[in-house]
Amino acid sequence: MSKKTELTASIGDQTFRLLTLLMAISVLVLMVWMGWQMYDSALPSIQKFGFSFITGRVWDPVKEQFGALPFIYGTLVTSLLALLIATPIGLGVAIFLNEMAASKVRVVVAFLVEMLAAIPSVVYGLWGIFVLAPWLRETVEPGLAKWFGFIPLFQGTPAGFGMLAGGLILAVMILPTIAAISGEVMAAVPNAQREAALALGATKWEMIRLAVLPYAKSGILGGIMLGLGRALGETMAVTMLIGNRPDILPSLFAPAYSMAAVIANEFTEATYALYLSALVEIGLILFGITLILNVFARFLVWSVARGPKGGTSNE
């Protein structure tokens, strides 16, 4: 090879390296820049209210009082509820599709689950308004109140629109994420693992418990966390169903508000600088919560993946 071609090759590699490095850095820059911009815009609110912005329960733009706790509460409760409902169902779907279903059934059901993810959230919202909320108000919530009314979560007037509706719609929306990712990691479990369990005299369920789930657990956890991320940030469908009232009530039937919803609803009405700044601070908090949760999730996945001493789980 002549010196010249060697040189061009190395220049090509160098350029390519630089180019990809630039792209990688741009993501980081974008993120820091967004965080900084948000912080800058939220500064008036941060300086005025300090930490009481997070602990304050009153949101009254007319009196220039801003406390974000009701929104944080609404977001966390609906997201958690969604996770509690969607995780077992999503795992069940994934197990059924991967380990139980005949291949024809699998193709059809897997497609339907994917379709769930493709539905725009505003359509989910509409369905929630016209179907889910009336059903909750007339059937589910009175029933829950009757049987489980001794728990504060299920007390109060059945309203339809509230945290239960918001949580349920979120559950439907994150279900495909959890099912798809869990399904993929289960499919990646080597067949040798399944046969190892079967050869010891495991039933199908025991095989799943012994060989499939432990092998796939860190991936499944990742899928759940991705679902949680989606639930925290979801705006439209929740806004349409949560009731939009900045209150902190123990009952799941009660209307509430979420961080994303209040930003979407009130941004255009924010008539003075401090109001706008308070809304941006809510955005900043949401940004922070998602970031913290993701870091936490990383640690969780990492610690689960390690398994017993002296080995890594997924080899």
């Binding site: 040798a192 046969e195 010891l200 005299g201 432990p214 398994g307 890594t312």
Partner: protein
Amino acid sequence: MGQSLIVRHLEAWYGSNKTLKGINMQIAPNQVTAIIGPSGCGKSTFVRCINRMHETLPGTKVKGEIILDGESIYDQDPVALRKTVGMVFQKANPFPSMSIYENVVAGLRLNGMKSKQKLQASAEKSLRMAALWDEVKDRLNYSGMSLSGGQQQRLCIARALAVEPSVLLMDEPASALDPIATTHIEELIRQLKENYTILIVTHNMQQAARIADSTAFFLSGELVEHGPTSEIFTNPNDKRTEDYITGRFG
């Protein structure tokens, strides 16, 4: 104790591909029987039929009869059968999320054994039988993946022995191991036949000659010849057997 096996006109398919074309064979208890033959001759399928593992794959089919200690295996629940007929695979497959100890007792726990003392006693016994105890006794709570390849395979043997089967199927158990680890496994197999009926699939004819009491030669889904190992290797009846063991093909 080991149990005897009688195989009658066994046929097996992968989809439309017929991999076993009517096998008739008797396997004596407490002996090591080696199954040899070129790749794709159906020897793996054959042993996988004996613990009904073959039929767990989609698109497979089995016909014929296998009688274990007087009872047809097809009249038994496959889950129960696999506790009597244990299996060791080509590639060591310990459960990666479990410790060495947990791996060994995994099958016992499946059977509902809860007593810690019994589990520990059984784990030690199985690990001793698998000639692994001395190497791992101080680190039983380490991951099974922390062991070397040969140790992992012996761990898998211990795991299979813990369930106390009477027949042990081994599908090329040493093919992924270095010569020293292979020697360990072979010594182990010679000791195990006191208590188990052992069927071992092997690519390696020297290995069959070293450890097997009887040897069966498979070719294209048929059993060409089955007899005492010394006879198969020194004085085979069939020309094809002779060609194979002298290295003329395969």
